[in-house]
């Protein structure tokens, strides 16, 4: 290709190899083979063997495997279309196939906002390799040099002669050629790519709007039964007496099965309890209602959210484990002209994907076939194998659409339930969680408490910043001894840029009494709320513009170093992603411009701001609030500017950010899960409300044009919303809300 300029990424070419998988499958079939090193970094031992990624059939149909789970981020469009775009395919002649759980795909854990970051280069390379082989096949047929041929619109063209040959008619000849090495494959210049010129089609749009998309809850097999499980109200509880006589009398109920008792650490094990297996969901639900079960609650029965909040408050008012330290913060606070202090609190949250957990399993003799809406197919495969005493290779796991994931569907507990119950019933069994099950038996987002103290000198300059956090760690789900946040769990706190010469961050004790799990953007919901609310408090304490104070606290444009932040090494800084305060400042300044920040403040409008870096992306938000006719606070507008580096599919990045605004408002206004007597008190969307359409503000999104490396899109929009809202509410009402959720305080 004469126009091609970009060589394939050399680092990438050592990690992944494109290989031919041809012959019997017909046409040109290319597979990817990951290096043993890459596979070793992934999810355990994996075969160093290729797997089908793209097929160009003799009929011209291009089939591309998507190995990442689709949960609303549009990955089944974004990644396969990177390949198709690089190839020069007609988007109408594509078929996207969802990959099963298979270690040969490398990492399939769709979590942490890194699908595009990790697979963009792989998709480009696979598409360019296929294109190069098709061009070589055409060159041989026409006896012309391959490098003058171009591929677009599903055909190879010779501009010199005007000849063209469709991909389908070249596929067999291309399959007979050697696969070029990555170093010899040229990528297209970006300007040639459709994604640079406009919006990509929406692969699954038609299936979504006609009810044809098949989610985990939708798969049906002949002879299939449906199970609903009565789980212990308290984590670690177990049934002491089960009377299933009335349940078995419900028409349609086939069997009542006791699941194995749970024991710590939680991992992805089912919680235990009693399952009712029936011909259909309604009979299973009625059967469960008819069960009589007595429980022994176990040691977590003492868990009480009111008392726990007090325990966390006590914890953050005493020293904890030092996370990062620069200078002598205690001396700097003692010598400050003014000290500003505040405490922040937030509750447990739960994911509530619109599709509650559901999975179908068919356990056979030495095998199990599973259909599941999972974010982490290979872990689910392993967990099912472990529970049934099989090898992972004996478990076939098909990934369905996910009706929302948000981290809940990374956990395989519900999938293991289906497998165990299928084995017990000797039939395919579909487990259906009700919404009450989902809310009462989740992997909860951590509650948390913070205490922040800052010292200002006589010129109101920041001279000291001490932050203490207490929150139950996700680590406790895997290691019962983990009792405070550490390492990656500190997320944005690990490298929050601060100009203060004395800084200390501490993590304080907070043992877990429920299963703690990651939820969209994870602890950064907590960390960003505390840090960015506190910046608002510094502005209030000094009578200054909150945007100016925020920029001053962050300091000048620079790349952070481990030394500056006071740690041994930077935590959120893979190669090419060193934290860049300049990019953070830019999104803050840009969101201020876009929202008319200065003019709004001059006009007396209530606006709040927050800036944040997470998942390697830079985000800033402005929220505008006002009183409605009944003098209730209403949210009018949200502006959000993100710099996620390059994007593969701008419209889906935008939709993720739009959704993040709503997700952030839901947790800020309503997010509250509480325990009493060890059991979760909330039940359904009446006691765990979410933002509805009439509460959704006008949302204005801007994606900063960037040539920086791809970063996260699904999660980083969430954390700045709550603090920006808290800061806006303060501007309107003069009331500083230091505890989420806000809805009750706003009505008072």
């Amino acid at each position: 290709m004469s126009t091609a300029t970009t060589p394939a990424d050399l680092a990438l070419s050592r990690r992944v190899f494109v290989v031919a998988l041809g012959g019997a499958m017909g046409g040109l079939v290319l597979g990817l083979r990951y290096s043993p090193e890459v596979l070793a970094q992934g999810q355990g031992k994996s075969p160093f063997a290729p797997i089908h990624f793209v097929k160009i059939g003799k009929d011209g149909l291009v089939t591309i495997v998507c190995s990442r789970s689709e949960m609303g981020q549009g990955i089944r469009t974004s990644l396969p279309y990177v390949l198709a775009d690089e190839l020069g395919a007609d988007f109408a002649k594509l078929e996207i196939v969802q990959g099963d759980a298979d270690a040969r795909y490398g990492d399939q854990n769709t979590d942490g906002s890194h699908s595009v970051r990790d697979f963009y280069g792989v998709m480009r390379l696979a598409g360019a390799t296929a294109r190069s082989m098709l061009c070589s096949a055409a060159a041989a047929r026409w006896n012309v040099p391959a490098d003058r041929l171009i591929a677009h619109d599903h055909a190879v063209h010779d501009p010199a002669t005007g000849k063209k040959a469709g991909f389908g008619e070249l596929a067999e000849a291309a399959a007979a050629l050697p696969v070029p090495e990555a170093k010899d494959v040229k990528l297209r210049p970006d300007a040639e790519l459709v994604k640079s010129r406009g919006r990509l089609p929406f692969v699954d749009g038609p299936a979504f709007v006609t009810g044809q998309a098949r989610y985990g809850a939708d798969v049906r097999l002949p002879g299939m039964l449906t199970a609903v499980v009565l789980r212990p109200p308290v984590v670690g509880g177990r049934p002491t007496r089960v009377d299933d006589s009335k349940a078995l009398a419900v028409p349609g109920v086939r069997k009542v099965v006791r699941l194995p008792d749970w024991s710590p650490p939680a991992g992805f094990k089912p919680l235990g309890g009693v399952a009712v297996i029936a011909d259909h969901t309604w009979a299973a639900i009625k059967g469960r209602e008819a069960l009589v079960v007595e429980w022994e609650d176990g040691p977590n029965a003492s868990y009480d959210s009111v008392a726990y909040r007090q325990a966390l408050t006590t914890a953050v008012n005493a020293p904890g484990t030092v996370i990062r330290q620069v200078g002598d913060v205690d001396a700097a606070l003692a010598g400050a002209a003014k000290v500003v202090s505040a405490e922040y609190h937030l509750s447990h949250l739960v994911h509530t994907p619109m599709e509650p957990p559901a999975a179908l399993a068919h356990a056979g003799d030495g095998s199990c076939e599973v259909w599941a809406p999972t974010q982490d197919p290979q872990t689910a495969q392993k967990e099912v194998a472990k529970a049934l005493g099989l090898q992972p290779a004996q478990v076939t796991l098909h990934v369905t659409f996910l009706g929302g994931g948000f981290g809940r569907k990374s956990k395989a507990d519900f999938i293991v339930e289906a497998a165990l119950l299928s084995k017990a019933a000797g039939a395919p069994v579909r487990v259906q969680w009700t919404r009450e099950d989902d809310i009462r038996h989740g992997y909860y987002h951590a509650t948390g408490a913070y205490r922040v103290d800052a010292g200002l000198d006589a010129e109101q300059k920041l001279v000291a910043w001490r932050l203490r956090v207490a929150a139950p760690p996700i680590g406790s789900t895997f290691d019962a001894k983990a009792d405070r946040l550490s390492g990656w769990e500190l997320q944005t706190l690990n490298d929050l840029p601060l100009t203060a010469p004395a800084v200390r961050f501490e993590s304080c004790v907070a043992p877990a009494h429920v299963r703690i799990g990651w939820m969209r953007s994870v602890y950064d919901i907590n960390h960003c709320f505390a840090a960015q609310s506190f910046v608002g408090e510094l502005a209030a304490a000094t009578g200054r513009d909150p945007k100016a104070v925020l920029l001053d606290v962050l300091g000048p444009a620079r790349k952070l170093t481990a030394q500056e932040v006071g740690m041994k090494e930077l935590m959120n800084a893979p190669e090419g992603y060193t934290p860049d305060v300049g990019r953070l400042r830019h999104v803050i300044e840009r969101v201020a411009e876009l929202s008319g920040w200065d003019a709004a403040r001059r006009a007396g409008k209530a606006v709040g701001i927050a800036g944040y870096r997470g998942f390697l992306t830079y985000v800033a938000a402005v929220v505008a609030v006002s009183y409605d006719a009944k003098r209730q606070v209403k949210i009018d507008d949200v502006w959000l500017v993100a710099d996620p580096g390059q994007v593969a599919n701008a419209d889906r990045v935008r939709s993720q950010l739009e959704g993040a605004v709503v997700f952030g408002l839901s947790l800020a206004l309503y997010g509250k899960i509480t325990a009493k007597g060890g059991a979760i008190e909330q039940r359904n969307f009446d006691s765990y409300p979410l933002v509805r359409i009439y509460e959704a503000p006008r949302t204005h999104i801007e994606i900063v044009p960037s040539q920086a490396k791809h970063a996260g899109a699904g999660e980083p929009g969430v954390p700045p919303i709550a603090p920006a809202l808290a800061n806006a509410i303060f501007a309107l009402t003069g009331k500083r809300l230091r505890e989420m959720p806000f809805a009750k305080a706003l009505q008072a």
Partner: protein, 157 residues
């Protein structure tokens, strides 16, 4: 158990069911029409919305005995070729993220457009207030309803 006839998308189906069984489970588990979704079971989220004689109802709280005498329309029967103006607009605007709540959203919006062919934002917010979207697609839902309302009449219905 009783024997009932459900008229769904113009076709009669005879089912044997507890008369209290919610229409949702009859559609999904007895008739295999899985386009109608379970989200809460308490008429709080709207994922299960279908039409009974053209009115949007929550099928999770509608007993089959009450639905048996009426014309039931589900997402599978909203249009013959998936080209109801709302379905077209939903794809063009790129409304869905995970897509799970969208059948319910579209059925609510279709009933709204039947009653109010040119709704305002406020009317959309009122009519769609019972449908939760956890992905947060609300702004695009408003845009897509307006687009469908402005689409030329005729065609799919």
């Amino acid at each position: 158990m009783s024997s009932l006839v459900l008229n769904v998308n113009g076709v009669d189906h005879r089912i044997e069911a507890d008369p209290d069984m919610p229409l949702l489970w009859a559609l999904r588990d007895l008739l295999g029409l899985t386009g109608t979704k379970y989200g809460c079971g308490q008429a709080l989220c709207g994922a299960c919305t279908v039409h009974l004689d053209g009115m949007a109802v929550r099928s999770c709280q509608t007993p089959v005995s009450a639905a048996a005498k009426q014309k039931i329309t589900t997402i599978e029967g909203l249009s013959e070729h998936g080209d109801h103006p709302l379905q077209t607009a939903w794809v063009e605007v790129g409304v869905p993220q995970c897509g799970y709540c969208q059948p319910g959203q579209i059925m609510s919006a279709a009933a709204l457009l039947d009653a109010k062919p040119r709704p305002t934002d406020a009317e959309i917010d009122t009519a769609m207030g019972g449908n939760i979207c956890r992905c947060g697609c609300y702004q695009r839902i408003r845009e897509a309803v307006h687009r469908a309302a402005a689409a030329p009449k005729g065609g799919a219905r």
